[in-house]
Amino acid sequence: MYVSPQREPLIKGDKNYSKITEEITAPMAGKPGKYWYLGIGISTIAILLGSVAIFMTIWFGIGTWGLNKTVGWGWGITNFVWWVGIGHAGTFISAILLLFRQKWRTSINRSAEAMTLMAVMCAGFFPLIHMGRLLLGFFIFPYPNTRGVWVNFNSPLLWDVFAITTYFLVSLLFWYVGLIPDIGTIRDRATKKIKKKIYSLLAMGWVGSARHWARHESLSLILAGLAAPLVLSVHSIVSMDFATSVIPGWHTTIFPPYFVSGAIFSGFAMVLTLMIIARKAMNLEDFITIGHVESMNKIIIATGSIVGVAYLTELFVAWYSGVEYEQYAFLNRATGPYWWAYAIMMTCNVITPQLFWFRKIRRNLAATFIISIFVNIGMWFERFVIVVTSLHRDYLPSSWTMYKASLVEVGLYVFTLGLFFTLFLLFIRVFPVIAISEIKSVLKSSGEKKIEK
């Protein structure tokens, strides 16, 4: 078979279709290893610990957090934006890279999409829990009621409700539609009766006929076409939570593109963090190759640089605007009491990814892993800087305060981390982490060697 000499193979080793099926479904068969148990144990404990924080928040109120009269949002919204950002990689990979016909996406899109769903779940948790009256949270939906009142469609927070809900549902559809053929594969390989029954149900009667495939491909393409602007819109709308306000440091037109690139940046970093562990733990080195890692690192440099430029642009515009409030807000970010957060943000987001200009580092797993963690931390601090430092010193100096997170807020963050990893660990046990059918379709063109039977 012909293999492009210019490109490095996306699938390594001697493979045929059957072998691919075999190797990708291998982690799902048999008993999970001790590391899996360790992982799920830790993440379940995190969920339990976090549940105490949830209880405290609902029972005693937001007063258990460190917020005050001036800083109305703290860790809660920081975490929300962070998780939404992470939730951008999956759909970006599967939708936009599909539209750009990037074949290397096939190895990572499934797990990235799953990660998206989990991250969006974690993200959606925060706007709910940060409500003062969670039990009345249903007020936020425009449902007919005897009070005759509706919601406020002017509010970016309401746009968020629509954006996040839509994003979650469309991503879920996209992910599930892509999963159907692979569930069919598992169903046909299943030997236990219950397992077979369940996967039959989930496969929805997939038979792999040419007509199914034709429609499936058409559906995937259009969904990708829809999801692509959706991905861009979601973080744009999240950024409008800040951009449409009047608070200096929030009221910035650059936010939508800046947030989207930041989101993809952090999303890819999170995917890398997970993938580097997963390929090792699940013996998927042949499918997720150094080449994949390198491709993703290239996107990280690109988006990281956009983010860096955005940071500088913000500073420039603040100075150039001549508005004293704006100027002070940015001066305060860099040199005020929260300078350390700004410094962490700058170091982790702007400086560390630049190391990826070196091919050696780009192709080094350990380095990539460390830098991806750095980026995750940096992006968390970016949101912290935006949310907290803009609020804590705004217009009237009489109301300036400091904000310190409480243990309860940390607990809620721990809860979402636990939830995320629990779901991910369950996911790798029940569904194939790599899109089997898609990998098969690129085996010939991008495989290292296809062996004949």
Partner: protein, 171 residues
Amino acid sequence: MKKITKYISAFYEDEEDLLIGIKKLKENNVNVLDAFTPFPVHGLDKALGIRRSWLPRVGFIGGAIGALTGFFFQKWVFTEGYQMAIGGKPFFAIPSFIPVTFECTVLFAAFFMVFAFLFRSKLGLGAENKIYDLKITDDRFVVVAGFDENKSGEVKKQMEAAGATIIEVKE
């Protein structure tokens, strides 16, 4: 039309063999019914002569419905449902309605398409389509044709020629 009761199928190990096989059968006016593959094979729909899917059109209609619903619902809420003076804006403040309209468009389009796909392909929870062979979802490429007693020998030969490993006749 006569109802087909018996099928003849050929199992290939490579998608190119399958395509060649289908092409040959078609050339000989064999009633090729369907093909089953583990992954979408490029050119298969053309070889089988499957019409282009109208899912995009469903998507467009869904999107249009979503956009209109979203926009006019917002308009109704603010101008008739309950007039609320918000931030000095007029009741009918179009720029504020754009994000929700957009989200509704995408949401409706996606749901319309997915349900159309499931409906058209007869897929769904509890759907029981006949699984032709368990290996299809693994590495087998199968072409199924109507079985005609008169032509069976010829068809088999053509199938073998294209590289079929197994040839079956099923009721």
